[in-house]
Symmetry: C2
């Protein structure tokens, strides 16, 4: 059988990883799908850095040449939301596109899917969430028969590495982050990862895949991990919890609850057991129950491997039939959600107050909490900090987020409070 022809846009770590797998695994892939995938052309402006050997003759600087008829599927690894967007839009009018571009998908995912539908082509993005874990395929196909209730996960390996390191090495955030940067697990500008932006992108993609909801990045509220201290992690640990940066996408009647924030999770939960650069995602389905998927979230090879799996999948439909019929199935299911407002959340909270060490402080704090209908589950005072104030930790019963925020804004204005209160939400289901 004639090959299906692949073009790659961009030749960074991921693009070159895809090229390498297509070359190295060519025969295995052929035996697997019954025909070859042929790497036909690579468009890049900088061919010096990553090109695997033996493919020099395939390299061009002309991005548009990938739109020609001699390419059946295009892999976009340019990144960003400018050139990549224009390129994907043009390509989708003629052929299938595979991408791992989270920022683009989180912003324009549904728009791109609409172009693909209109022109009867396909857009695939397995590699955009949790690198080596085929979570998109699981949501789209493996659990497609089920009514998905929630998807929760650790979807950023850098943030998870930093939190794990803080706990295991008794470090503060800045030190653990510095170590992560020195070890190559964090970027020089780490805000994307540690502030929750990257996780929020992935939450939007999960909402699209699991619930058919065209969530945008702006629909997702997020908080990062920079305010978490070693003391928080240690206190949580002593209470049989771990603190993880969790992306939640959850159906609640006609509302979709999409958010990213540091959360306390029972240590018996698989997400709590996932340390270091690993990602883990737990899907709860009406019939399938709770299933969890764990693997490395990033890296050239796992990401490239997921892209090639998408290529094989699409190529089979090109050859055997069914090409262009996949989006209606994967995404038409439910799309009439409202986004749940943060203020309406009803959760348990861990609150760390930085209180001046003098009598009556607890009574003032608990008074304000009580006025706002927040009842206290337990209280821990963890020694003195030496700075003249003491960390006072209060765990609440379930309370309305808006009430908690109202109480905190009042408490933080008290003279006896030295620094803004740190709030960590508890996920206990």
């Amino acid at each position: 059988m004639k090959p299906v022809r692949i073009g790659i846009a961009g030749l960074g770590t991921v693009g070159s990883g895809v090229a390498r797998i297509l070359v190295e695994n060519k025969e295995d892939i052929r035996r697997h799908i019954g025909f070859p995938l042929e790497l036909t052309r690579i468009a890049t402006l900088d061919k010096s850095r990553f090109a695997p050997s033996g493919i020099d003759h395939l390299i061009t600087s002309k991005l548009d040449s990938l739109l020609k008829d001699d390419i059946d599927i295009v892999v976009e690894t340019i990144g960003g939301t400018t050139t990549a967007k224009t390129f994907i839009e043009s390509a989708l009018r003629q052929k299938a596109v595979v991408t791992a571009n989270k920022a683009l998908l989180a912003q324009y995912g549904m728009d791109l899917i609409k172009i693909a539908r209109k022109h009867k082509t396909e857009l695939a993005f397995e590699a955009s969430v949790a690198g080596g874990i085929p979570i998109i395929r699981v949501l789209k196909e493996g659990l497609s028969s089920d009514e998905i209730i929630s998807v929760k996960g650790i979807v950023n390996g850098t943030a998870n590495f930093v939190l794990s390191r803080m706990l295991s090495e008794h470090q503060e955030f800045a030190d653990a982050l510095k170590f992560a940067q020195e070890s190559g697990f964090a970027e020089r500008d780490p805000s994307f990862d540690v502030d929750g932006i990257d996780s929020a992108h992935k939450a939007a993609i999960i909402a699209l895949t699991a619930f058919g909801y065209p969530a945008k990045f702006s629909d997702v509220w997020y908080e990062g991990i920079s305010k978490i201290t070693y003391q928080d992690l240690k206190t949580a640990y002593d209470l049989d919890y771990k603190i993880k940066l969790i992306a939640t996408v959850k159906k609640e009647n006609d509302q979709l609850d999409i958010r990213v924030h540091p959360a306390m999770i029972s240590s018996s939960d698989f997400l709590a057991k996932t340390d270091g650069v690993y990602n883990a995602i737990t899907v709860r389905g009406k019939y399938s129950g709770k299933t969890t998927y764990v693997g490395k979230g990033a890296g050239s090879h796992p990401t490239a491997n997921s892209i090639v799996a998408d290529l094989m999948d699409i190529a089979k439909r090109i050859k055997y039939g069914g090409f262009g019929t996949v989006f209606p199935s994967g995404f038409d299911r439910l799309s009439d959600f409202k986004i749940k407002q943060k203020e309406t959340l009803n959760l348990k909270y861990y609150l760390r107050f930085s209180a001046v060490d003098e009598p009556g402080v607890l009574s003032k704090i608990s008074g304000i909490l009580g006025e706002n209908g927040i009842s206290i589950h337990s209280m821990i005072q963890v020694g003195r900090s030496g700075n003249g104030f003491v960390p006072l930790i209060i765990m609440t019963h379930s309370a309305l987020e808006s009430s908690v925020q109202k109480a905190l804004s009042k408490i933080d204005r008290l003279d006896v409070i030295a620094k803004p209160t740190v709030l960590i939400r508890i996920i206990d289901e």
Copy 2:
């Protein structure tokens, strides 16, 4: 679009679960795949027990009626290897079959696949391994681009429940098993689960799916968990290990290593962190790295859900094209393995000797180990048992299984050894 019509053979817990999902989720399924799946007929001899309401008119006692032209896909939930085999063979000559029949697949899987290929139909069996976890789909598609190196897992929830319970409740095997039976987590005759037979069936199915090797049940050597004591679990735990019943399917050059046995695994491994009735499977791929899949291994709903996912998948190919083209891709990849012989394994071992409490015993045991080229990593004597002998535990460095067996058969004949030595293999990669 016209519906794809489904027939179910057998109406036990799984068959009725499938019927229930097809009825309850009908509209969701239609929105997901673009056309309806219509439950058309159910063949059962005993319709009294599990039938969901409202489908009485679909029930017949004539199994053959499912072979008629008005059924597009048949679900086999009869079980066993007699009637089920004949029925599936006939059905596959005309249409797709979905089954969760492990015993049948482990014995005749490749034969059935050949019938499907010859007649251009399909056989699907997602539900046969690890109930609610879409592991077959992950191996066949999500990681199809990768070179799979090994698949290891806890694939029997009953055995895992018993081992977890023994450790957490300080119980011996018989007591934990009795509790499992009383709680509905073990059958009255538990041998299938605790002796490793069920896990061996699943290992054969994994070999077929991940490596295209037509493994049969008889290719898999297996050992169960009945000889494990609380003391073994506790000692392992103190050494930072857990003991789990592990199915291994692993490529080693041109050999395929397929086995099921209790194994000591580092407590940092996800398999070690999986307790109770949960299943967990770790796949190691050249590019994707290590990914782990966790979920409930059994139960009517998770199993039925996996069957319906297979139905949706096949139905899409029937409607949109590509029907009958899936087997060549999933299974033609590699099939020229030799089965690795047990004697040639090179592992580390945990050995528990039941030695008479008198001087010179250790010297005799270590002498025989030394003669057989087995070197000792560490030795632990855990108090006296009160029966006049002491449990003596030796952890070895890597050694050849044949040498270990030879040494043990000599040691177990010593006067100072009261009971056969218990051997637990260590999996440390």
